[in-house]
């Protein structure tokens, strides 16, 4: 098991290198002057683009440029973002915790709901819950995220006033900025608890409900479908029939024997879900005015803020690589055959 994880970890730098090479290759479609903005860390340098082109060899062969750029990236210099009006690395540091918090809760909800609904659907095949889950899956997958997001916002904020957009209500926001609140992680729910401010925790949760619901509804569909078909297949397997024939209660057969094996394709899918989650975050944050990296990324790409978009791509690619690594490790934990291979 450890050897397997070490092997995967050793591959990580190679994958990361591949990702940076791909992003850099895409950058080559831009003119040297546009690429020069990647090397700017201070707005005063904006007037010195020709010097930067020379300094960073942007008119040199691609491999020379790639080396220079990679060195910059490894030093944490991702350029200057015109949209955030600060270095890209600082902007990412500022925006990322909000997105991480949103993605984390959404991911947990998707996993919990998807697996539960998929299992229930398979166990109760062709019954009401199965029909409901299939209708939910199809509508969730076919309804554009922004439509669903706006719908939720109109009903649960515009009509009921329950779940407001943004990250915090006015009072909570003012308290957080008052100097009495210590930021430990940047995750508002966690920091609120660490500060002993339950009311800020609940306020943050209220603001997370709709974006999390949007992402969950958008992405849970695939997980439900896969879990359902995987469970149906497993439930038909000989060993499950044997377990049932032994007289084991159905709940134990389903929970302990069938689901564990049925989860193998689900774990593979989880990394793909993570990709979907990251793209979903972009739209969700914009609609809910949620100050995360997704909202910033949308603005940056609309405004051709190349350093920001590149930084955005790098961070998302990095997360994806990590997501894949987690999936591989979990895969090995769930299925001993993989470890043995």
């Amino acid at each position: 098991m450890i050897a397997f994880i070490v092997r995967r970890l050793l591959l990580l730098p190679l994958v990361a290198l591949g990702v940076t090479a791909l992003i850099f290759a895409l950058l080559q479609f831009l003119t040297p002057a546009m690429r020069a903005s990647l090397y700017i860390t201070d707005p005063k340098q904006l007037n010195a683009l020709p010097d930067i082109i020379r300094k960073y060899h942007l008119d040199q062969p691609v491999y020379v440029q790639y080396g220079d750029w990679l060195r910059q990236v490894l030093h944490g210099d991702l350029g200057w973002s015109e949209t955030a009006r600060e270095p890209v690395a600082d902007a990412i540091r500022g925006f990322f915790p909000a997105t991480l918090e949103l993605a984390m809760y959404a991911f947990l909800c998707i996993l919990a709901l998807g697996i539960w609904l998929g299992t229930a659907s398979a166990v109760n095949k062709d019954k009401l819950i199965d029909h409901l889950s299939r209708v939910t899956s199809i509508s969730g997958a076919s309804l554009p995220t922004f439509v669903w997001a706006l719908l939720l916002l109109m009903v649960f904020y515009g009509h009921f006033g329950w779940f407001p957009p943004g990250r915090l209500s006015l009072d909570a926001d003012l308290y957080v900025r008052s100097g009495k609140f210590h930021v430990y992680t940047g995750l508002m729910t966690v920091d609120a608890l660490l500060n002993g401010q339950g009311w800020i925790f609940w306020d943050a949760v209220r603001h997370l409900v709709l974006p999390v619901a949007t992402l969950t509804y958008y992405l849970v569909a695939v997980l439900v479908r896969i879990t359902r078909s995987s469970m149906l297949e497993t439930l038909r397997a000989d060993y499950v029939r044997t377990a049932q024939a032994k007289g084991l209660p159905r709940r134990i057969v389903v929970d302990r024997h069938a689901r564990r094996n049925a989860l193998i394709p689900v774990i593979t899918l989880a990394s793909l879900l993570f990709i979907g989650l990251l793209s979903g975050v972009v739209i969700t944050e914009s609609v809910f005015n949620y100050p995360g990296i997704g909202r910033w990324g949308v603005g940056a790409s609309q405004q051709l803020d190349i350093p920001a978009v590149t930084g955005f791509a790098l961070i998302f690619a990095g997360l994806l690589v990590l997501g894949n690594l987690c999936a591989d490790v979990l895969y090995a934990v769930v299925d001993p055959r993989i470890r043995l291979q």
Partner: protein
């Protein structure tokens, strides 16, 4: 059984959806009674009063944090009341000299800055000198430079200094407790400029944070700064009723808190939050829920707030605003994605594409003004015939204006660049600011018409965050872009200079130059006789028609949308946004 459960669930959901409502209608309790929340679609560019020259920045700066010597009497632009001065100069009180060249302002005593220091006449003088000498490209410095030095910029066209320290030092002097302004020529609108642009900050505070220290020998180092060069870019120290608490550029939010040591009675509001929310739907819902007190609404979105319970629309507000599309005569193509290939090869435009008057006229004929005014303003606008709009001295209703004419547009395109434009086509990107649906509609109308004239014509549209849009166009990177002008002071010079003088805001951004226009703008500013001035501005309107440096597409009337529980609000077209001092929620 199952059907019954399903039916009950459906009934329950419908009941909850129809009965329960959280929307705050009329008579609902006031939410956050001591905090005012404004939602805008544009973000401030700078908080430095000598740099900022846009409405989003102006709302924070004046009259909420920084104050001027005198101000307007409520909504009336022709009457003034003292603010940091104790009297409004006039011929009657002897504070304006008989020749109209000297204005004396007795400075109020005991006024404290937000840092606790006491305002002195020397602070006032320093602030005026800093305002003039900082003089960034496309900034507001010309407003004081013109009447006080006779020149509208510290730099000549070749970039060399044409104003000395002595020029401005002798124009603003301290005499005891008074600050005296010595004009280069009589200027009828001078008090109006002082009412809008004589912001005062403490000299010691500025100098201690790396800003100019008032020295005659160092000012040139502080001239024409870049956006974030100065401490005052994101720090404020005024005398106004509110202090800056934070400007969080990531959260896109400015928080102002009440100045409890204000020299007048402190404001009733404890706090003002000005937040950028680009999605109109979100802004609208927050207004509906009472989480916002005042929001930006574009005219095409007005129907979505009309009739909303607990919301008031102040409509048909007279304003001196001009919406225009600007041609950049010399585009900086370096790293500029909006010019395509940068050549006239069908996939781009060369940097001087718009320097050919036939190109500009073609676009002028290709714009469907009637449809734009109908769709973007619901008919609540008129088509101007130049930068001198209705309501200003010298407005000429008989002056010619461009009308939508496809055939004339085609004829002009065929003449442009010796026929090459028509033969090879072009491709470029027109820009406007994010959230401005009026400009978006205008851009779309132009795109549709232009692309229908010739399949080789390609016009893309792109929106940009307000602050970045201003920076981009100021860096000469705009191609054809949609940007308006709101009055600084109600005088034709405030429109002639920014639109037609070489050193004006737009000609500077767009490298437009017409020596005759420069001469007339100067003459208009220095002439006292109203009849003569009117004749000069009529001449300038004709030049604008011939040269077409911009397309003048609409002069709209304004409207403001806010919760009905807001009281004390009044409209003043010179303010970038609201004056929060008299506001309260009840």
């Amino acid at each position: 059984m199952k059907q019954r459960v399903l039916a009950c669930t459906v009934v329950l959901v419908l009941a909850v959806l129809t009965l329960g409502t959280g929307a705050r209608g009329a008579g609902a309790p006031v939410k956050n009674p001591d905090t005012f929340v404004t939602l805008r679609f544009g973000d401030p560019e700078s908080l430095d009063p000598a740099y900022a020259y846009d409405t989003a920045s102006a709302e924070i700066i004046y009259p909420n944090v920084y104050e001027t010597l005198i101000t307007f009497d409520g909504s009336v632009l022709s009457r003034y009341v003292p603010l940091l001065a104790t009297q409004v100069p006039s011929l009657q009180n002897g504070l304006v000299s008989k020749d109209g060249l000297t204005y004396t302002f007795p400075i109020r005593k005991g006024v404290k800055f937000h840092d606790g220091s006491t305002m002195t006449p020397e602070d006032v003088r320093y602030s005026m000198l800093r305002f003039m000498l900082q003089d960034r490209d496309g900034g507001p410095s010309w407003l004081l430079l013109t009447p006080l030095t006779g020149k509208d910029s510290t730099r000549a066209g070749d970039g060399k200094f044409q104003v000395t320290y002595q020029d401005v030092a002798k124009a603003v002097t301290v005499q005891g407790d008074n600050v005296v302004f010595h004009l280069a020529h009589p200027y009828g609108a001078f008090l109006s400029i002082i009412a809008g642009f004589s912001f005062v900050m403490p000299k010691a505070w500025a100098a201690s944070h790396g800003d100019w220290d008032g020295s005659p020998t160092t000012w040139q180092r502080y001239n024409n700064p870049k956006l974030q060069d100065r401490y005052a870019f994101d720090h404020m120290d005024g005398t106004g009723p509110f202090k800056l608490q934070t400007w969080d550029r990531q959260a896109k939010q400015v928080i102002l808190v009440r100045n409890d040591n204000y020299w007048r009675k402190p404001a009733r509001l404890a706090r003002v939050v000005i937040r950028t929310v680009q999605e109109f739907g979100t802004r609208r819902l927050q207004l509906q829920q009472g989480d916002a007190d005042l929001i930006d609404v574009n005219r095409p979105e007005q129907s979505q707030v009309q009739g909303m319970a607990g919301v008031t629309i102040h409509d048909d507000l007279p304003q001196l605003v001009l919406q225009a599309l600007h041609f950049n005569f010399k585009i900086d193509a370096t790293g500029n994605p909006d010019v395509g290939s940068g050549k006239l090869d069908g996939n781009g435009i060369p940097p001087d594409f718009f320097s050919d008057v036939h190109v500009r006229r073609a676009f002028a004929y290709a714009f469907d003004y009637g449809t734009f005014i109908r769709d973007a303003y619901r008919g609540k606008a008129v088509q101007p015939n130049g930068p001198i709009i209705q309501g200003l001295l010298g407005y000429d209703p008989s002056a010619p204006r461009y009308t939508f004419d496809r055939n004339k547009a085609i004829a002009e395109f065929k003449e442009a660049w010796g026929g090459k434009v028509w033969d090879t086509g072009f491709k470029f990107t027109l820009t406007y600011n994010t959230g401005n649906t009026v400009r978006q509609i205008g851009a779309q109308i132009l795109k549709d018409v232009v692309e229908s004239l010739n399949p080789k014509f390609k016009l893309d549209i792109r929106n940009m965050q307000w602050s970045q849009f201003l920076q981009t166009t100021n860096a000469h990177k705009g191609t054809l872009y949609a940007l308006g002008w709101a009055v600084d002071y109600p005088d034709p010079d405030d429109f002639a200079q920014p639109f037609l003088a070489s050193n004006g805001d737009y000609p500077k951004r767009n490298s437009y130059h017409n020596a005759e226009a420069d001469r007339l703008v100067r003459e208009g500013a220095t002439t006292v006789d109203p009849a003569k001035r009117a004749a000069i501005y009529k001449q300038l309107t004709r030049i604008a028609y011939q040269d077409v440096p911009q397309l003048y597409v609409a002069q709209p009337v304004g409207f403001v949308v806010m919760r009905s529980w807001v009281h004390g609000w009044y409209y003043n077209p010179v303010f970038g946004g609201a004056n929060y001092y008299p506001l309260y929620k009840e």
